[in-house]
């Protein structure tokens, strides 16, 4: 138990010491890998290199909303406002990466599919996710940071909204879509990507996930500071009224 606490403490401290330089190096490796190292795709040409930011951004989006889901459960279970700050931070980063996934997908889709947007299941369910969690952030911003009831309502909403993630993930298998089928996570032995592309993609996933975790940590600290400021504001109001 003590070892787990020490590990958590070290990980918590590492968000300001190890995470930023690691993220920087990994992002540089991603740029070099995506633009120089990865081979040119034979059918789509150079524009296929968007794959190395589009897919990692989608994985970072899943992870960010996963953090929101877990933190929201903690809010409901323990009524801990620090978890509410983490949930809001992760949602904010999730919304950022959802927007980036949709934007890079549209820019990639225009030359390859001939359209910026199609109302297919994968794209539509991702847009729904953006609207759900965008609405969560908007609604949560209307309440005070240390409003416990608002935090609990927002947590319930986030847990329900998270159900869209498995729908997005399975949409290309359940329905016929313009979006391609999975080419990375297939059955073992059914590898569709050349090793060089797979290696660059792995670097991209590590880089963008590290970036997302650092942004969540940065935003969570900001939100906890905002909660303390709101509590202090209420205390000063009470003292001045007395």
């Amino acid at each position: 138990m003590n070892a787990a606490r020490a590990l958590l403490g070290a990980a918590h401290a590492a968000r300001w010491t190890a995470l930023p330089p690691l993220t920087g190096v990994a992002m540089l490796a991603l740029i070099v890998g995506a633009v120089i190292v990865a081979p040119r795709e034979a059918v789509e040409g150079e524009v296929q290199r968007l794959f190395y930011i589009h897919v990692p951004a989608a994985i970072a989006m899943y992870i960010a909303y996963g953090i929101t889901f877990v933190a929201s459960l903690v809010v409901l279970w323990r009524r801990d406002l620090r978890a509410d700050a983490v949930a809001r931070a992760a949602t904010s980063v999730g919304v950022l990466f959802t927007a980036l996934v949709l934007a890079t997908g549209a820019i990639w889709g225009q030359p390859i599919w001939g359209v910026w947007w199609a109302w297919d299941a994968r794209l539509t369910s991702t847009l729904v996710l953006l609207l759900l969690f965008g609405g969560y952030l908007l609604a949560r911003s209307l309440a005070d940071e240390h409003d416990e009831q608002a935090a609990r309502f927002a947590a319930i909403f986030a847990v329900v909204a998270f159900l869209d993630i498995p729908i997005i993930n399975m949409s290309v298998r359940w329905w016929r879509t313009l979006h391609p089928q999975p080419i990375v996570l297939r059955m073992p032995g059914d590898q569709a990507l050349p090793d060089a592309m797979l290696a660059v993609l792995a670097v991209g996933v590590v880089a963008v996930v590290l970036l997302a975790l650092w942004l969540v940590a940065l935003r969570a600290d900001t939100e906890q500071l905002a909660q303390r400021a709101a509590a202090l504001r209420a205390a000063v109001d009470r003292r001045e009224d007395a």
Binding site: R40, I53, A99, T104, I107, L215, L225, L232, R233, V236
Partner: protein
């Protein structure tokens, strides 16, 4: 058929989004720092000691300097 302009646009949007988010976060932190400064000032005014001259003269205790007109409570928010 490489569509280099789309490749450039995709990377540009990705980086612009990330930098835009970081700039917004920095603005939020600045707003919070300003609010904390204001709260410190209000707290200092509320805790200001009663001047000795007024105690000696028997006047009712009043913190100095006179507090400025109050803002509406709990409406000051960051750049959310």
């Amino acid at each position: 058929m490489d569509y280099l302009e789309y490749l450039f646009a995709g990377f540009a949007v990705f980086w612009a989004g990330l930098f835009g988010y970081l700039l917004w976060l920095q603005a939020r932190l600045r707003a919070l720092a300003r609010e904390l400064e204001r709260l410190e000032e209000r707290l200092a005014e509320a805790d200001a000691p009663v001047p000795e001259a007024s105690l000696a003269s028997g006047e009712p205790a009043r913190p100095t300097p006179a507090p400025p007109p109050r803002r509406a409570p709990t409406t000051e928010r960051g750049a959310e």
